[in-house]
C-alpha cells in the first residue's frame, strides 16, 4: 500500500487541511470499527507510540495507539496554525511538522516565493524528508493552497518546485483555490498568474477550485435547510455542513462548510487508493488517463451528492440522477459548464454499492450529450470503490479534463492585464530580491500559451472528423 503526504500552505490551505484531517479521521473511524491500524489508515496516518513523548517509534501493526497526520503545515502567520493546535485536532499533528513565522507575506507572491522560500528552504526540505522517511512507499504529495494571497500562492508554489527537485518520482497533486472576481486582495491577479506559471511547469495534476462556486453551493444548501423544502432530506450533521472537530466548535465558521467540500473532494479522490473495490483506481492512474499533454493537467471536479445529502436506500432512478448531476453546472467546483465545452478526458470515481452495469448504463446515457475531442471519443476512466463516504450509500466524483477551464483563466488574465498595464502595485514586487519584470512577462505568456492550447482544441469542436489514414500492409 502506498502513502500520501499533505502539504498545507497559508491560511486557506491550513483551514481546508484542517477540515480534511477531521473528515478523514471520521471516515476511517466509520470503516475501521476494531481500532486496528490497517493499511487503509496508513495511507494518510502514522501510528505512533507516544508514551515516551511525541517522538515515539512508528507502530506498523496492531492496535491504534496515536495517529499522526502525514502532513506538513506551513504558514507565515501564526493565527490559523495556533488555532488548530488548540482545537480538537491538536494531537493529530506532530509539533515537528509545523513551520510558521509571525509577519505574513502581505498578499505578495514575491514575499512568499522569493523571501520566505529561500529563508525556509532547508527547514522545509528537512521536514519533508522526515515525513517521507516515515512512509513505506510514498506515492503522492497533495499541496493545498490558495492562489490569491502571498503565502499560499508564493510559498506554496515554491514548495511545489522543491518537491520536484527532491522527490522527482513522487506525484504532485495541487488543490488550488482561485479567488473570486470581487476578491478584496487587490494584488490577487498578480499572485494568481505568477503562481499559475509554477503550476503549469511543475504539477502533475491541478484541481482548481473557485471560491465563488463553493460559496454558491453552501448558500444553496442553507436555503434548502431554511426553506424546509428539502429539510427532511438534508442531514444536519452531514459531511458538508458539519464543523465539529474544527478549530472552534462553538460557533460555526462561515468557511467551514466551503472547506468541507474541498476536503470531501480529496477524500473521494483517494478513496480507491485506500479502500478495496472491484475496479481499483490508484492515484497514478489519474494523471495517466486524464493528462494527454503535459501542460494540460487542470482537472475540473464535481461532487455528488451535494445538495440532497441523506440518501439512504437509493433506488435506481436516484442513482442515475447522481450521474446526471455530476455533469450539471451547479455541481462543478469552478464556474464552468463542461457540458457545453470540449472533453479531453473524463474520470468517474464511484463509491459504495454501485456495479459495473450501473456505470455502463450511465455512460451510454450521458455520452450523447457531451462533446469529446476527436481522438478521444471514448475518453472515460472509471473506478469502483466499495466503501462509501460516511452517511451515504454511494457517491460520485467526476474529474474532467475539459476546455471549460479556459474562461477562468481568461478572466484571470484580464484582471492581471488591467493592473499590469498601469504598472499598478508593481513596485511592491520588484523591490524584492530576485523579482524582475521578466517574472511577470514570463508568467503572463505561460498563461496565454495555456489558454491558446485550450483554444486550439476548442476549435476542433464540431469540425467533421477525418480519421488519419492507417498503415497499409502490402499483401
Amino acid at each position: 500500500m502506498t502513502q500520501s503526504v499533505v502539504v498545507q500552505v497559508g491560511q486557506c490551505g491550513n483551514q481546508v487541511g484542517c477540515r480534511f484531517w477531521d473528515l478523514a479521521l471520521r471516515e476511517h473511524a466509520a470503516v475501521n470499527k476494531k481500532g486496528i491500524y490497517d493499511e487503509a489508515l496508513s495511507s494518510f496516518f502514522r501510528n505512533v507510540d507516544t508514551r515516551s513523548g511525541d517522538n515515539g517509534p512508528d507502530i506498523y501493526k496492531g492496535k491504534i495507539c496515536s495517529l499522526k497526520a502525514r502532513a506538513l503545515l506551513i504558514d507565515m502567520e501564526e493565527g490559523v496554525v495556533n488555532e488548530i493546535l488548540q482545537g480538537p485536532l491538536r494531537d493529530v499533528f506532530d509539533s515537528k511538522q509545523l513551520i510558521t513565522d509571525v509577519s505574513g507575506s502581505g498578499n505578495n507572491w514575491a514575499v512568499g516565493h522569493k523571501i520566505y522560500g529561500y529563508q525556509y528552504r532547508e527547514n522545509i526540505v528537512e521536514k519533508l524528508r522526515k515525513t517521507a522517511e516515515h512512509c513505506d512507499c510514498l506515492q503522492c504529495f497533495f499541496i493545498i493552497h490558495s492562489m490569491g494571497g502571498g503565502t499560499g500562492s508564493g510559498l506554496g508554489t515554491f514548495v511545489l518546485n522543491l518537491l520536484e527537485e527532491e522527490f522527482p518520482e513522487v506525484y504532485r497533486f495541487v488543490t488550488s483555490v482561485y479567488p473570486s472576481g470581487e476578491d478584496d486582495v487587490i494584488t490577487s491577479p498578480y499572485n494568481s498568474v505568477l503562481a499559475m506559471k509554477e503550476l503549469n511547469d511543475h504539477a502533475d495534476c491541478v484541481l482548481p477550485i473557485e471560491n465563488e462556486s463553493l460559496f454558491e453551493i453552501v448558500n444553496k444548501i442553507h436555503q434548502m435547510i431554511n426553506a424546509g423544502k428539502l429539510g427532511s432530506t438534508v442531514k444536519h450533521n452531514s459531511l458538508v455542513t458539519s464543523s465539529a472537530g474544527s478549530a472552534k466548535t462553538l460557533q460555526e465558521k462561515p468557511f467551514d462548510a466551503m472547506n468541507n467540500i474541498v476536503a470531501n473532494l480529496l477524500l473521494n479522490l483517494t478513496s480507491s487508493a485506500r479502500f478495496e473495490g472491484s475496479l481499483n483506481m490508484d492515484l497514478n492512474e489519474i494523471s495517466m488517463n486524464l493528462v494527454p499533454f503535459p501542460r494540460l493537467h487542470y482537472l475540473v471536479s464535481s461532487l455528488t451528492p451535494l445538495y440532497t445529502l441523506a440518501d439512504v436506500n437509493v433506488p435506481s432512478r436516484r442513482l442515475d440522477q447522481m450521474f446526471s448531476d455530476a455533469f450539471s453546472r451547479d455541481h462543478q467546483l469552478i464556474q464552468a459548464d463542461p457540458k457545453h465545452s470540449l472533453y479531453l478526458a473524463c474520470a468517474l470515481l464511484v463509491r459504495g454499492n454501485v456495479q459495473v452495469s450501473d456505470l455502463r448504463r450511465n455512460i451510454e446515457r450521458l455520452k450523447p450529450s457531451l462533446h469529446f475531442v476527436s481522438w478521444n471519443q471514448e475518453g472515460w476512466k472509471t473506478g469502483l470503490c466499495s466503501v462509501p463516504p460516511v452517511g451515504h450509500s454511494h457517491s460520485l466524483l467526476a474529474l474532467a479534463n475539459n476546455t471549460c477551464v479556459k474562461p477562468t483563466f481568461i478572466e484571470l488574465k484580464d484582471r492581471f492585464m488591467k493592473l499590469y498595464k498601469k504598472k499598478a502595485h508593481l513596485h511592491h514586487y520588484l523591490q524584492i530580491d530576485g523579482m524582475e519584470q521578466s517574472c511577470f512577462s514570463e508568467a503572463i505568456s505561460s498563461l496565454s500559451d495555456l489558454i491558446e492550447e485550450y483554444s486550439e482544441l476548442d476549435a476542433t469542436k464540431g469540425v467533421p472528423r477525418i480519421d488519419p489514414s492507417r498503415l497499409k500492409i502490402v499483401v
Binding site: 478495496e276 481499483n280 459495473v356 452495469s357 476527436s374 471514448e378 476512466k381 500492409i473
Partner: protein
C-alpha cells in the same frame, strides 16, 4: 500433464480465482451423470492438471499470483482459503506496493525487468512441482498496466526460460468504452508483443460477456464478479478433461498441446475465440431440456454468423457454395482456419458433427480434415446435462481488433498521451512497430 497458471494484475487475479473455483466446484459436484469410474478418472485428471495435493488434503492451485499492488492479491488469497475446498500456495505470490498506473510502459519496462528474478523464481518452483509440465496459462487484461505490460514481459520471460513449453495467454478485451482511457494504446502494445512470444491468445471480450450476463443470465445489476464467473465457466468448459479423437480410452494428458495442435496450424494466426452453449441461470436449468442436434445447429450458426451468444443469431448467413476466394465471400460470413468443438454430458458419442466438417467453412489453404477437431466426455459439466464449447481460430476477432487499432492510431496521430510512455522508455518508433505487427495480423485474417 500439469498446467501452471500465472495470474497477472487485478483482472487476472480476480478471474483466476473464479476459474479455480469453477474447476473445483465442478469436480466436487454430484452432477456428473456418468459412471463412477468415469467420474473418478475425470476428477483425477482435473486434479493433475490444475491442483497439487497438500498433506492436509486441501487441493492447492498450481498458480502464481502477480500484481504490483497488494489489495487484490490479499483479497484473492483469503477468499480462496475461506472457501475450504481449495486454496492457493501461500508462498506463490508476488506483489509490490504501487501499481503500474494503467501505464503499459511502466509494467513492461520498469516493473518487469526489476522483478523478473523474483517472479520467475516463483514460476520455476511451481513448474518443478509438476511431474510433467504441460505448459503455462496466463490470465491478464490488456487495458491496464500490470496485466498488460508486465504480462507481456513475463510471457517473454516464460518463452526464454521454457522454450519448448506451450504458452497460452488468456486475454481480457476491455469494454469498448469506459474502463481505461489509454486502453487502446495498452492493447496494441500488449497484443503485438504477445504475438511474438505466445503460442496462442484466447480472448474474452468484456462487452460480450456483459451482454451474456444481461440477456442469458438475466442479471439485473451486473458486477465484475458476475462477468468473471461467466468467463470462468467458459474456460472450464474447455480445460476440464475430455477425450480427444485418437486419444484412446483415457483423458487427454496434454491439454495445451492438443489445443495448439488442433487450432494453431500457422504462427501468423493465433487469435482464439470461445463460444459455448447453453448458458443460462442455474435455477432455469431444471426446467430446460436440450437436444444435441439443436445445440449443434445453433453452435454452428453462431460460428458462421459470428454471433457472440445464442440469442440474436443471424440465420440468414450461409457458407458460400462452392467455396470461393476471400475477395468475393458473402458479407458477414465468418471464415475459419480451424475449429475445436468440445462436448460434455449425456449421449455425446452419438452426436453428429458433420456440419462442422463442411469445407466451405474453412480457408482454402488448409485440408478441412485437419481443420476440425472434436473432444468429448460423458461427464456433465457444471450442472449442465449437455453442453458444448467451441474454440475457434477464425475471423471472430477481426472487427474488435480493427477497431482497437483504429482508435489507437487516431490518438497516436495527435500524439496524445505519448509523453506518458516515453517517460518509461517506450518511444514513438516502438508504437509504430506494434501498429505494423497488428496491421499485418488484420490483413492476414481479412484475406482468409
Amino acid at each position: 500433464m500439469s498446467i501452471v497458471t500465472v495470474q497477472l494484475g487485478q483482472c487476472g487475479n480476480q478471474i483466476g480465482h473464479e476459474v479455480f473455483n469453477t474447476l473445483c466446484s465442478d469436480i466436487c459436484g454430484t452432477h456428473g451423470l456418468c459412471s463412477k469410474k468415469e467420474n473418478e478418472s475425470y476428477h483425477d485428471s482435473c486434479k493433475e492438471r490444475f491442483f497439487c495435493e497438500e498433506e492436509s488434503g486441501v487441493p492447492v492451485a498450481r498458480a502464481v499470483l502477480v500484481d504490483m499492488e497488494p489489495k487484490v492479491i490479499s483479497q484473492t488469497l483469503s477468499m480462496a482459503a475461506r472457501s475450504g475446498h481449495w486454496k492457493y500456495n501461500s508462498q506463490a505470490h508476488f506483489c509490490q506496493k504501487q501499481g503500474s498506473g494503467n501505464n503499459w510502459a511502466n509494467g513492461y519496462s520498469v516493473h518487469g525487468p526489476r522483478h523478473k528474478e523474483a517472479i520467475m523464481n516463483l514460476v520455476q518452483k511451481e513448474a518443478e512441482k509438476c511431474d510433467r509440465l504441460g505448459g503455462f496459462f496466463t490470465i491478464m487484461s490488456m487495458a491496464g498496466g500490470t496485466g498488460s505490460g508486465l504480462g507481456a514481459f513475463v510471457t517473454q520471460c516464460l518463452r526464454d526460460a521454457f522454450p519448448t513449453s506451450f504458452i497460452l495467454n488468456h486475454v481480457i478485451w476491455p469494454y469498448g468504452t469506459g474502463e481505461v482511457i489509454v486502453q487502446n494504446y495498452n492493447s496494441v502494445l500488449t497484443l503485438s508483443h504477445l504475438y511474438q512470444s505466445s503460442d496462442a491468445l484466447l480472448v474474452h471480450e468484456n462487452d460480450v460477456i456483459h451482454k451474456i450476463c444481461a440477456q442469458l443470465m438475466n442479471i439485473k445489476q451486473i458486477s465484475f464478479r458476475d462477468v468473471n464467473q461467466v468467463i470462468a465457466h467458459q474456460l472450464g468448459s474447455v480445460f476440464q478433461p475430455a477425450h480427444t479423437a485418437g486419444g484412446g480410452s483415457g483423458y487427454s494428458r496434454n491439454p495445451l498441446g492438443d489445443l495448439m495442435e488442433a487450432l494453431v496450424p500457422h504462427p501468423e494466426f493465433k487469435m482464439l475465440g470461445l463460444r459455448n452453449i447453453p448458458q443460462m441461470p442455474e435455477n432455469s436449468l431444471a426446467y430446460s431440456t436440450f437436444s444435441w442436434p439443436g445445440l449443434i445447429k445453433h453452435l454452428r450458426q453462431m460460428l458462421i454468423a459470428n454471433a457472440k451468444m445464442e440469442e440474436g443469431i443471424d440465420w440468414q448467413v450461409r457458407p458460400p457454395h462452392p467455396p470461393m476466394p476471400s475477395t468475393n465471400k458473402p458479407l458477414h460470413f465468418n471464415t475459419s482456419i480451424a475449429n475445436l468443438v468440445i462436448l460434455r454430458g449425456k449421449d455425446v458419442h452419438a452426436v453428429d458433427l458433420g456440419s462442422f466438417q463442411d469445407p466451405s467453412l474453412y480457408t482454402s489453404w488448409l485440408n478441412p480434415q485437419d481443420a476440425f477437431n472434436a473432444w468429448k466426455t460423458p461427464r456433465a459439466f457444471n450442472k449442465y446435462e449437455k453442453s458444448a464449447a467451441l474454440v475457434s481460430n477464425s475471423q471472430f476477432l477481426l472487427k474488435p481488433l480493427d477497431s482497437i487499432v483504429g482508435k489507437a492510431w487516431n490518438m497516436f496521430a495527435s500524439k496524445a498521451y505519448i509523453h506518458q510512455y516515453t517517460k518509461f522508455g517506450i518511444q514513438e518508433e516502438d508504437f509504430l512497430d506494434c501498429f505494423t505487427t497488428l496491421e499485418q495480423v488484420i490483413s492476414s485474417y481479412t484475406n482468409l
